[in-house]
């Protein structure tokens, strides 16, 4: 039963992400990406990580993608045209990205041990975050603070 739901959700995530990458209308791409995040959060919930599932929806689908949506609405970008220029210039980023993804998936599928689904309560998760992974959390929050100050500096009025 769980496996069936998992594969349905996985199919939904992959389809939605594929649609998000290939849509020409920016608004539709944003909506497909939101669907993808939503399905992904259900997978997280199913695998026993309710806190991550909730945060996935709140932060990614609910905050970051809304900002994307906001920018799309404000800018009114229209349809993108085929990029011009030499082959290397237009395709190099895509090739580099594909290489990185290939290497990552190679190491993941060959090296890492099989993932075991285990239920983690929000309390356990929070405790681990602020004891075992304290340093990483602090570094990440420092990074966010820098971004915040930077945004404030760029956006301030003269």
């Amino acid at each position: 039963m769980n496996a069936v739901v998992f594969y349905i959700l996985g199919f939904a995530v992959l389809t939605a992400t594929f649609m998000a990458v290939t849509r020409r209308e920016t608004m539709h791409a944003v909506i497909y990406l939101v669907m993808s995040f939503f399905a992904l959060s259900l997978i997280f919930y199913m695998m026993g990580a309710p806190l991550i599932a909730a945060l996935e929806v709140i932060i990614y689908a609910g905050a970051i993608m809304v900002l994307f949506l906001f920018v799309v609405m404000m800018l009114d970008m229209g349809m993108p045209t085929r990029p011009e220029g030499p082959f290397v210039k237009t395709w190099l980023p895509a090739i580099v990205l594909a290489g990185v993804i290939l290497v990552c998936s190679w190491t993941m599928f060959t090296g890492a041990p099989e993932a075991k689904a285990a239920y983690i309560s929000p309390r356990t998760f929070g405790y681990a975050l602020y004891t075992k992974y304290m340093l990483a959390v602090e570094i990440a929050s420092l990074l966010l603070l820098f971004a915040l100050v930077g945004a404030l500096y760029l956006g301030r009025r003269e």
Partner: protein
């Protein structure tokens, strides 16, 4: 019947009850608001359809259903169709985690009142309310009208801003209850209600919630005198009805949540079956407060609204977290 079948049946009954009761309540909320507003403005309000105008919601429903469903030429068909559903759907789904009465026993099983007692219930509410932004933003964008677009942009900006202070106002609730589960949060208030520990948090939550549900004085996304009707200008018939009903369901669910987080939920004197009454009474008082506010306050100016959200409410709610945390440590308020 096996146990799992009974549990499934109970869940289905709860779902059906919630759907019927909230939709009916929402319809009568509209009537209550129109009546109360009328009284506060020294007039009668609707009183022609049925005794005391009690059948008015039915008449409104028939009118909405039989109206033509108009779609503007310039609109984005699919998104235009989905947007009202997102607004109404996300709001209805929030009810799944609200404990609206004391747990009861069926054939030896103790059954909680929420459909599901999620251990991330509070975050589930925040997640759904942040998804609700899409309904407003997409409706505004997909209508292909400048008024709708402006309303949608205003609406999404306002909702993200006040979501922040709403979430921050709820952080001390989690700190005191030691859990995200709404059942545990109500359980932690069997003694003193949380409003006693943090009146500031309650005030911030109420204001943010009023802004989140886009009601006067925060109804800038649909400011009539500048934007016609904002993001739902182009909608007609039952699609408009979904926005309209969604707004009132939202009012009910937010009152219920304010009761759950700060007013002790279903706790009250008397036998357990009275808990439903206490819960309805507390939620009703808060809903009345929102209607009262609508009759009393004028609309804010847009830049003042943003200023108020970011430079007053957010710092205050941060202060509330520090203050409540310090006092809780000092006096040992924590429940779990």
């Amino acid at each position: 019947m096996s146990d799992s079948l009974i549990m499934l049946l109970i869940i289905l009954v709860k779902l059906a009850l919630i759907l019927v009761v909230t939709l009916t309540l929402a319809a009568y909320m509209v009537l209550a608001e129109r009546k109360l507003l009328g009284r506060m403005q020294n007039r009668y309000g609707p009183n022609r359809v049925g005794p005391f105008g009690l059948l008015q919601p039915l008449a409104d429903l028939i009118k909405l259903i039989t109206k033509e469903d108009i779609m503007p030429d310039d609109s984005d068909r699919a998104i235009y169709y989905i947007a009202p559903g997102i607004v109404a759907g996300t709001v209805l789904l929030t009810f799944a985690v609200v404990p609206f009465g004391a747990p009861f026993t069926v054939k030896g099983h103790t059954v909680g009142t929420p459909v599901i007692d999620l251990n991330v219930g509070l975050l589930y509410f925040l997640a759904l309310s942040s998804l609700g932004v899409y309904g407003v933003a997409l409706a505004g964008w997909a209508s292909g009208s400048k008024y709708s677009l402006l309303g949608g942009i205003r609406g999404s900006a306002q909702m993200i801003s006040y979501e922040l202070s709403m979430g921050l106002a709820l952080a001390p609730v989690v700190m005191l209850a030691g859990s995200f589960s709404l059942v545990d949060i109500v359980g932690a208030q069997s003694g003193w209600w949380f409003i006693v520990y943090m009146p500031l948090g309650f005030t911030i939550f109420l204001i943010s919630v009023a802004a989140e549900s886009k009601r006067i004085p925060f109804d800038l996304p649909e400011a009539e005198n500048e934007l016609v009707a904002g993001y739902h200008t182009e909608y007609s018939g039952m699609r408009f009805g979904l926005f309209f009903v969604g707004e009132y369901i939202n009012l009910i669910v937010l009152s219920a949540l304010a009761t759950t987080f700060f007013l002790g939920g279903w706790h009250g004197p008397g036998p357990p079956w009275l808990s439903f009454f206490w819960f309805s009474l507390k939620s009703g008082v808060i809903a009345f407060f929102f209607i009262w506010m609508r009759a009393t306050l004028p609309r804010l100016r847009y830049d003042r609204l943003m200023h108020f959200g970011w430079q007053v409410l957010v710092p205050l709610s941060l202060l509330n977290i520090v203050l409540t945390g310090a006092l809780a440590l000092l006096f040992g308020w924590r429940h779990a």
